[in-house]
């Protein structure tokens, strides 16, 4: 059979406007996609060789590993997007455990037809957030699924870091008399997502707190504080963390409603919609439990960093009472703080 020198393959090889199934199928289109969109942002290690695995240098400290998936809707919201969430969320999981974050992997599940320009925006966000956190993206994967099999873009990141000195001793070590602090106003992420998703047009629009807690934790370390526990208060908000800690340490945690910082925007939306800011998600705000004698120095250290400038002491740990978490309401009455049974808002991260 004679060759057909002028035969043109119907598969588009020119830059597509949107993601096609072929972008995830291992052929030339995928190679080109990685070469043009991934490697320039994340460097050679992220995909140039297309090896199945990356070999990393030996660590000085104990390795710390975490993984997370991101399905937020909408993908872009005031204060961040799915890309910043995917980096800061995983980085924060490492730093609150007392680790220095070093490497991330990045998996993308992309719906067929997703605009390449939007994907570029997300990849830019990921690159910038990774740069700020001084982490490298060292492995990744791209899958494109048929239209309708996913909602736009889902990400998953795995983070590897090494344990540093003064890492938290763990929620099991929380004792009566310990002090509870929060690093900033609560509920901002959940409310920002909800306002954006429902197109509520608040003015000013509530902004997510999506960001890295690295500097705040570094300030604690520099001040010589070894916390009992640190947790970023993501899904379930502050309430969920308090309940987890109460379970872990077998004591009762008591907080004062009036001491918990809440921004006027979040408070307004929560009042309007009947939500409790304590149970709304955060993405750059954590709870810290420290010994009472460390409380003041912890507060000062946190407040020296922009991300936690509004840190506040919100409560303390007591001997176990009949309920695990108690809240002192505005009029001074103590009530049980009930763990929410499900998220008030789905798909926030």
């Amino acid at each position: 059979m004679n060759a057909l020198p002028n035969f043109a393959c119907p598969v588009p090889t020119s830059p597509a406007e949107c993601m096609l199934l072929a972008h995830g199928e291992g052929g030339s289109l995928m190679r080109k996609f990685i070469a043009e969109h991934i490697v320039p942002r994340f460097g050679q290690a992220s995909g140039e060789s297309l090896d199945d695995a990356t070999v990393l240098p030996l660590l000085a400290g104990q390795p710390v590993l975490t993984t997370d998936a991101f399905v937020v809707s909408p993908l872009f919201f005031p204060g961040g997007d799915i890309g910043t969430l995917a980096v800061y969320g995983t980085v924060n999981d490492l730093v609150v455990r007392g680790a220095e974050p070093l490497w991330l992997t990045l998996s993308m599940i992309i719906e067929e037809g997703f605009a390449l320009a939007l994907l570029d925006r997300v990849l830019d966000s990921i690159a910038l957030a990774a740069l700020r956190c001084r982490v490298s993206i060292v492995a990744g994967d791209t899958k494109v699924v048929p239209r309708g099999a996913a909602d736009g873009l889902f990400l998953s990141t795995t983070g590897l870091g090494q344990l540093l000195d003064l890492a938290p001793s763990g929620a099991m070590t929380i004792e009566s008399g310990d002090v509870l602090l929060v690093t900033g106003p609560v509920g901002r992420h959940g409310i920002a997502i909800m306002a954006a998703r429902e197109e509520m047009n608040f003015d000013p629009a509530p902004t997510s707190d999506c960001g890295s807690l690295m500097e705040s934790v570094a300030a604690l370390r520099a001040a010589g504080v070894r916390p009992r526990a640190m947790r970023d208060a993501t899904r379930g908000g502050v309430t969920a963390v308090l309940h987890e800690w109460a379970r872990d340490c077998g004591r009762t945690l008591v907080i004062e409603e009036a001491r918990v910082p809440v921004s006027p925007e979040v408070r307004g939306v929560c009042e309007l919609l009947g939500l409790d800011p304590l149970s709304v998600a955060n993405e750059g705000t954590m709870l810290v439990a420290v010994r009472a004698q460390d409380a003041e120095i912890t507060l000062a250290a946190l407040r020296s960093v922009g991300m936690s400038a509004q840190a506040a002491r919100i409560g303390e740990v007591r001997e176990r009472r009949s309920v695990p978490v108690v809240i002192k309401r505005a009029l001074g009455r103590e009530q049980p703080l009930i763990e929410p049974s499900g998220a008030p808002l789905p798909r926030i991260c």
Binding site: E198, S322, E334, Q335, S341
Partner: protein, 375 residues
């Protein structure tokens, strides 16, 4: 925050509580009609603070709670139809009908969405002409104007894939029904402030006279609630039975005329079964004949589902004030917000949920919120 903080001021509340206690010569029984008031009273511990002079009976003013199980089943069946999307308020999703809930139906593939306003449902219909959008319209007089507006706008914008499953209810007939009951103990009402903001309070004058019961229009913040309760006690002690407005910053005697005109244009009064209370004459609203083409029950006629046996839920007794939630044997054990047997445990305005969240248990007793004693 203006209009919030000054009405939650602890010193003001304490002063009002003291004055009220001094004025009362005996213990009075007062019903707060609205579930929003129930939540505030329990959240701020006002029920406890006044327990020696006032017994609070929690009223049926939770629209989600009184929506009949049949209507919820109907909404689920509609959501299962091909090309139909049922849209409603978030609270409705987990309320059990007889055959499951909208949340379960959604998990099984039915199309259900939530909104904060019927106008959002209308916008969704406009953007998705390939589907039939049914708005499950739940609520007291507070929410009916927005539903009426959605119908009027649908007509004006010629949005034909939009219809309503109407579950709207009226609060005053329920108050009358409770007063007519042989075992009625209610001596005064806190009327629901937000309902009165729409419909006004002039119509209560007749009810006050006929049943010799004070009705005080009351807001939802601690200062509002204690002020309203104090006004009830003042009237009861003085032997007066008047309608009185203690929520002047939101409510005028005639209500919101623009809103009531919208409602009158679209809806008419009808009898409606209330969950827990039974058939209530004039207890609901339905679309007027001229708007029948927006009625989902008219557009998607179907045969009713079989009526199942009731569960152990005593929500009817709770909604009519006969028992307090902890007196129900299922409360906190078989029935929790996670696994609700009845609507009052689900809704953010439900009395059972209020007791579960703000249980009047001391945080130091060995009793769990589930087993607390009722006063």
């Amino acid at each position: 925050m203006k209009y919030v903080d000054e009405f939650r001021d602890a010193n003001t509340v304490d002063r009002l509580l003291d004055a009220l206690r001094r004025r009362a010569t005996r213990r009075w029984t007062i019903m707060e009609v609205c579930g929003g008031q129930t939540h505030s009273l329990l959240r701020y511990g006002i029920d406890e603070a006044l327990a020696d002079v006032i017994e609070l009976i929690h009223g049926p003013g939770c629209p989600v709670c009184v929506t009949s199980a049949e209507l919820i089943d109907n909404a689920m069946e509609l959501a299962k139809l091909p090309d139909v999307v049922v849209i409603t308020f978030g609270d409705m999703l987990r309320v059990p009908g007889q055959h499951g809930s909208l949340a379960l139906a959604r998990a099984a593939g039915a199309r259900v969405r939530t909104v904060y306003s019927p106008l959002e449902a209308l916008t969704f219909a406009e953007k998705n002409p390939q589907v039939q959008v049914v708005f499950f319209a739940v609520g007291f007089e507070t929410t009916t104007p927005a539903t009426a507006l959605a119908v009027l706008q649908a007509e004006r914008r010629n949005i034909t894939n939009f219809s309503l499953l109407v579950a709207h209810v009226r609060v005053q007939p329920a108050m009358e029904l409770l007063l007519q009951a042989a075992d009625n103990r209610v001596q005064a009402f806190l009327a629901a402030g937000h309902v009165c903001a729409v419909v006004g309070y002039a119509s209560y004058a007749e009810l006050c006279r006929r049943y010799r019961v004070p009705v005080v229009v009351t807001g939802f913040e601690p200062v509002d609630l204690v002020t309203g309760l104090a006004a009830c006690v003042e009237q009861l002690e003085a032997g007066r039975f008047d309608v009185e407005n203690c929520y002047g910053r939101s409510v005028q005697a005639a209500g919101n005329l623009h809103a009531t005109r919208l409602v009158d244009a679209v809806f008419e009064v009808c009898d409606r079964p209330w969950r827990g209370l039974g058939d209530l004459p004039s207890g609901g609203l339905r679309l007027r004949e001229a708007w029948k083409h927006f009625d989902a029950e008219h557009r998607f006629p179907r045969s009713p589902l079989p009526i199942l046996e009731t569960t152990g839920c005593r929500s009817g007794d709770v909604l009519s004030g006969r028992i307090k939630p902890p007196q129900c044997s299922a409360f906190g054990s078989q029935c929790t917000p996670e696994h609700p047997l009845g609507a009052p445990m689900v809704s953010s305005e439900g009395a059972c949920a209020a007791y579960f969240h703000y249980a009047r248990t001391s945080c130091d007793t060995t009793a769990s919120p589930a087993t607390i004693e009722c006063r």
